[in-house]
């Protein structure tokens, strides 16, 4: 294979060969190469196939706007990715690259048949057919369409890499480290402002890396660059990040930066994340992202070997790669002429420079002649030939806008330049307006909505001198606006390459334009005629044109295609470009790895999991866990060979027979303190509190202002001005926030304060006939006999030597206590009680058993038996409402018409006719199982368990007018059979007299 590498040229390290493979073929490049430059050095232009027509494609650009040279790349197991831009991916030792969207191979691809049917697959064709016969859509057409879509293939292994994220704050963030960005960084950096300068490529310098002959401040460009970087590096207030893409510009100068840390490294240091997401808050932002070169639109402008002239110049000067020996240059801008000159001076033999403009600066044509390059001014290009590499180009004279006599010119590359587009993607993210400059035929920044400065080619400026000056000015202004004292520094520039150009629609042709394959969006195979077809079909808005043709929706995000598409659309619409307008640029600026957004949130640190102080004991004793809100709770404690059902039956029996221990630490706890504590509680909760004695507790019910049940819990009064409020595990934060809301904004006059003590206390529940026997020996300073410490008593005391809050409370119907001790002692308390409990065959139980035991007593679980549509009356909790209270949160809603109307769903008990049948939670209930669908459903089963204590299955359900259906038989139609059950209004299935409770 021929080598196009020029010795001792470019910024690559000619002494450092790097091995890599492309489609399995072993190749060699140099340190400092991109995958694309290395392939070009190996004489490989053919790098991909297009999306729709599978046309052979070569690399077009040298940057992140590359539409064609997309490849699968792989480092090792779990390190494959599709659609890597060969122009961005730096060469690393052992890099494996594979071409995409072709079968069997890149050279011969069966899919290329689409190319010959191309005229069938015009824009939007799929909206117009594939509709008959109806059934064929699902089975034939759609699978085929989908199979044909897509570029690369998905990874199939879990990602082996890790990712990071970091917040940053800076005075000035400069995006783009080309000449303008560097000048801005110098100006701002010298002022002492905190400066971040970021660039998406491996090396700062931007266009300077492709323009080595310019002389700045008396130094050759690359020396000036080195000196500038040295000065910036020496400034402690300046940070330079390379391989860092500003992906999105968010509110108030928040910028997202995606930094690639390891993909370029031969070996990755331990602990190094692959990529890092920076979230930078900048006082001032300077956008110096330069301009993007546009292709020219002519038939066959997509053959391998046809590329952007600026890219060819970059490959030559930055990477020391000659992309061709006999290039033809086709341009509408002066810049491409210099590419020809550089190539000629590097030993290539440019055949001709075709300029579509009618007059070109004499200096350029003279210099071309010196190099022996033919100059064809005011011409058009109407075709190219060559299957896997361009071999000739068809050039025509143009007479009053019409292409005339053609001429074929042999060549091995075509270097095109359709002018340059200011890169304003990020600016557009801010919803800043764009203003059309008819002189430049380009959109320039208009109205700004953020503290942002745009400088350099982004403002349509051309030439190093003007760009440097503009960057320095912007950097100075940004520093001043950030409150620094900055003075502007001028730069001198010699051997500059100023230039101008024009922006044109598709080039005129002497052939049938309806048959021309003149591409605008290379990757999506959108041609000029597709745009015109869209307009012909009534797509007037540029957004419609974009969506109908998919122009600009490829992975280059329209960087290359937007303006060409606009010029052609506006011509077809007969409107000026600004009247047609531009489609919105959407973040990210370049495609960004999902993992980078996820950052540290992967595997163990994906999301926090709260564990109680007693959790280690549960884990050591083989508990099965269930997630409840952010907590993980012990679900049940299976003995060897036990399934959940068996374990739960054992736990239930043991608790009712003797005593069970339960970790209730996750319950929300709120300290309500202050002289107005009672008043506050009266207003928040439905229950009355004024008469609740100190040392007593009461079930509390909390509604939303809409009258529906939000939360509940046992609330103890520990002093005249002090309540210990408990909430549901999931409700803790919500309830505290709701209380604070009312307290701060509705009743600021109340003297009461709220403090979350959820994690101050670890809570151990002892439940069962032997609970007192087990607890008594540990309690100091308190008599807990039935008489002295009855059901719903509360007190502060000492338990097992720890300061404690003790509640006589039961969620099981058994004699029960809940011991709260400072969290650090929770595990010790549990272990002491566990040890002492052995004589009573104490049993640790989890949330599932807790649910069974409470269901046997008909105690509801908010969120399971109620669902945010139930009122206290619906849930049979009218008794929990303070009848004499003038008001409480939600009271007014309870008298809304539909809250008191008949037909509400009400909570009842349900007993299956077959006592062995356990209904499925969520099962629906009907009165007539034989009615046709849709059936009239009365309600659903909310809780359902097997109960040994009751000796049968038990269930709760919400049923329309349930309270009036005592004894009624209802039906639960399951997929394959129908179950029957009777309604019982009283949901207390076990020990209705509460004798065990008050034992």
């Amino acid at each position: 294979m021929t080598s196009n590498r020029l010795p001792n040229r470019g910024r690559v390290d000619h002494g450092k060969p790097v091995r890599f493979t492309f489609d399995g073929k072993a190749l060699q490049g140099l340190a400092g190469d991109t995958l694309a430059s290395a392939l070009l050095a190996n004489g490989i232009h053919l790098m991909g196939r297009s999306f729709k027509y599978h046309r052979p494609r070569g690399v077009v650009s040298a940057g992140s706007d590359e539409p064609n040279a997309l490849m699968g790349t792989r480092r090792g197991a779990g390190q494959f990715e599709p659609n890597t831009r060969a122009t961005i991916q730096e060469l690393r030792d052992g890099l494996e690259a594979t071409s995409q969207n072709r079968w069997p191979g890149l050279g011969f691809d069966v899919g290329a048949v689409n190319d010959h049917l191309g005229s069938l697959f015009s824009a939007g064709f799929y909206y117009k057919t594939f509709m008959w016969p109806r059934a064929f859509w699902d089975r034939v057409y759609e699978p085929v369409i989908r199979g044909a879509a897509g570029l690369g293939v998905s990874p199939t292994e879990s990602d082996a890499d890790s990712y990071a994220s970091r917040f940053a704050h800076t005075d000035v963030l400069i995006i783009g480290a080309g000449p303008a960005g560097l000048a801005a960084a110098l100006a701002a950096g010298r002022s002492g402002a905190a400066v971040m300068l970021v660039d998406e490529t491996a090396e700062p310098g931007g266009s300077l890396l492709s323009e080595p002959d310019v002389v700045i401040d008396g130094k050759p460009a690359w020396d000036w660059l080195a000196a500038t970087l040295a000065e910036l590096a020496a400034l402690p207030n300046v940070t330079i990040l390379t391989r860092t893409t500003a992906i999105g510009y968010y509110h108030q100068n928040m910028i997202g930066l995606a930094q690639r840390l390891t993909d370029h490294l031969d070996t990755v240091p331990a602990g190094a994340p692959r990529e890092r997401m920076w979230k930078v808050r900048a006082n001032q932002v300077v956008l110096t992202q330069g301009a993007l070169e546009k292709p020219l639109v002519f038939d066959g402008n997509d053959r391998p070997g046809v590329m952007l002239a600026g890219a060819a110049q970059t490959y030559l000067n930055r990477y020391g790669v000659k992309v061709g020996d006999r290039p033809v240059i086709v341009t509408s801008h002066d810049s491409a002429w210099y590419t020809a000159f550089d190539l000629a001076e590097a030993g290539a033999k440019p055949v001709a420079i075709v300029d579509v403009r009618t007059d070109v600066a004499g200096a350029l044509t003279d210099r071309a002649r010196e190099h022996g390059i033919e100059t064809l001014i005011g011409r058009t290009v109407t075709g190219t030939s060559g299957r896997l590499r361009v071999s000739s180009i068809r050039v025509n004279r143009v007479e009053n806008g019409k292409a005339t006599t053609p001429r074929d010119i042999a060549c091995d590359t075509v270097l095109m330049c359709g002018g340059w587009t200011p890169c304003l993607h990020l600016f557009s993210h801010t919803k800043g307006s764009l203003a059309w400059d008819d002189e430049l035929k380009a959109f320039l920044p208009g109205h700004r909505t953020e503290a942002v400065h745009i400088a350099g080619a982004g403002r349509g400026l051309w030439g190093i001198a003007s760009v440097l000056a503009d960057g320095a000015a912007a950097g100075t202004q940004a520093a001043l606006d950030a409150g620094r004292d900055a003075t502007e520094h001028a730069h001198t520039v010699e051997a500059d390459r100023p230039g101008t150009g024009i922006t044109v629609k598709e080039l005129p042709t002497d052939r049938d334009p309806g048959k021309a394959k003149a591409f605008i969006d290379f990757q999506n195979d959108v041609t000029a005629k597709d745009i015109r077809l869209a307009v012909r079909e009534g797509m007037r808005s540029i957004e419609h044109v974009k969506r109908y043709t998919t122009n600009g929706m490829a992975t280059d995000q329209g960087k290359m295609s937007n303006i060409n598409g606009l010029m052609i659309a506006s011509d077809a619409l007969g409107k000026a470009p600004p009247q047609v307008g531009l489609t919105t640029f959407r973040p990210p600026y370049t495609p960004t790895t999902f993992g980078t957004f996820a950052g540290y949130h992967k595997d163990a640190t994906f999301e926090l999991t709260r564990k109680t102080p007693i959790d280690p004991w549960a884990e050591a004793h083989g508990a099965a866990f269930e997630p409840v809100a952010l907590w993980r709770r012990a679900w049940y404690f299976p003995k060897p060979g036990e399934d959940m059902h068996a374990a739960v039956r054992r736990e239930c029996q043991a608790t009712r027979a003797s005593v069970g221990m339960f970790d209730a630490s996750t319950l929300g706890k709120i300290e309500v303190a202050g002289p107005d504590a009672v008043t506050f509680m009266e207003r928040m909760y439905t229950n009355p509190w004024a008469k609740l004695g100190v040392g007593r507790s009461r079930y509390g019910l909390l509604l939303g202002e809409d009258g529906f049940i939000r939360d509940d819990g046992v609330i103890g009064r520990l002093g005249p001005d002090l309540f210990h409020v408990t909430t549901t595990t999931g409700g803790a934060a919500r309830v505290l926030n709701m209380m604070e809301d009312y307290l701060q904004t509705e009743w600021p006059d109340l003297q009461v304060w709220l403090t979350s003590t959820t994690e101050q206390w670890a809570t151990v529940a002892l439940q069962g006939p032997n609970a007192r026997k087990l607890l008594e020996p540990f309690v100091e300073g308190l008599d807990i006999t039935a008489e002295a410490f009855p059901h719903m008593a509360a007190a502060e005391c000492t338990v097992a030597g720890f300061p404690a809050r003790l509640f006589r409370v039961s969620f099981t119907g058994e004699l029960g206590f809940e011991v709260n001790v400072p969290a650090r002692h929770g595990l010790a308390l549990w272990e002491k009680l566990w040890e002492a409990g052995q004589q009573y065959d104490v049993c640790a139980y989890g949330t599932e058993t807790m649910h069974v035991l409470r269901a046997e007593k008909g105690y509801i679980v908010v969120g399971q038996d109620t669902d945010g549509t139930l009122t206290p009356a619906d849930a049979g909790l009218t008794w929990a409402i303070g009848k004499k209270k003038p008001d409480f949160v939600g009271k007014r809603s309870l008298s809304r018409p539909d809250m008191v109307a008949p037909g509400r769903k009400q909570l009842v008990g349900l007993l299956t006719d077959d006592p062995t049948v356990v209904l499925q939670e969520g099962a629906q209930i009907v009165a007539d199982p034989n009615q046709p669908k849709p059936m009239k459903m009365l309600g659903h089963v909310t809780s359902s368990y097997w109960s040994d204590a009751v000796g049968r299955s038990i269930a709760m359900a919400v049923i329309t007018d349930g309270h009036a259906r005592e004894g009624e038989t209802l039906y639960i139609p399951m997929p394959h059979h129908i179950l029957t059950a009777k309604v019982v209004k009283n949901t207390v299935f076990y020990d209705p007299e509460n004798t065990r409770l008050s034992a």
Binding site: F80, A149, G150, P155, G514, R536, G538, E543, R896
Partner: protein
Amino acid sequence: MTHFSLAQVIKGALSGQKNWTPQWPDAEPKASYDVIIVGAGGHGLGAAYYLAKEHGITNVAVIEKGWLGGGNTGRNTTIIRSNYLYDESARLYDHALDLWENLSQDLNYNVMYSKRGVMMLAHNVHDVQSSQRHVHSNRLNGVDNSWLTAKEAKAFCPPLDISPSARYPVLGAALQRRAGTARHDAVAWGYARAAAARGVDIIQNCPVSAIRRGPDGRVTGVETAKGFIAAKKVAVSAAGHTSVVMETAGVRLPLESYPLQALVSEPIKPIFPCVVMSNSVHAYISQSDKGELVIGSGTDQYVSYSQRGGLPLIEHTLAAICEIFPIFRRMRMLRKWGGIVDVTPDRSAILGKTPVPGLYVNCGWGTGGFKATPGAAHTLAHTVARDEPHPINAPFTLERFTTGRLIDEAAAAAVAH
């Protein structure tokens, strides 16, 4: 208007695509109409289409402030399903699903309705209870939905990680096989083309600044950028902007507009065979027929018309997606955009008459608007034509916020204990 068919496509291929005509003309407003619909999204255009097709009312204008289909119709994640819990919702969305099934043929426009199946994951005991409740309710309502074990879910969607150690383990899933996705733009364009063919005027780039009422209180027309346009009846179907428009008629709504973000990945070959939703982690994902992974997240927390939305939400959504589908962590986000979703207190739509004679409203679809498109359009057309709601949209009144008869799907999925 050219009839769409394979024959025409071939003819186009041979004629250099000369045979195609505008899919809808760019109409200039007439002085007056029988019906004006404010908002040329799928809902508004569809309503115009059904007014013409099923009620013979063709003197209709659809007025759009921007380009048709440019609101939530062109910004959503195109999920279509009907497995809602409550009878009212299930009927409405299933009615839509019935219409989706043959919409391409009905409109002579391929909207690419893809019956891929929508799977909703259950990650904990509460999710399971809630999913089972949905599945049973749907079955008795005659709505397709079935329960899958974790293994079955994995079999249906291979990229799914069902390892029990996951932070959000998959305990099972509810699958509606009949559900899926459709090409959002095609829905707007198809309705626009079919409505225009029946004489409906589609007026783009024409913001409506006010609804005018006569002395009797009745609607008389709308003030627009192109002047006053008279109308016997006005239907507002402007999604997030409905509050603003209705306010001008003196109708205040229980509505708030929030940013909703969505994104797509770079295109890849088919890997993801269905739609997967997880309410616990607020994320949903499918693969488009272009090969992009289409991912939606929850709404941002504050009222906004900015169509922007913040980075943290996207970070959270993608973290969740990568946790449930670990093979996608190295995939790249290609494009992210924002929409404005109009949300009611019970997260169900308002579709029907208003206190103002001749004024009708269709709003409050939250994140459910696209899937409802044909159903909402069809029943809105009925309501406008007959001046009384169709039985299917009858429950979705404004009055329910006074009486308390809410249709609260979200509350039904209330978070537990």
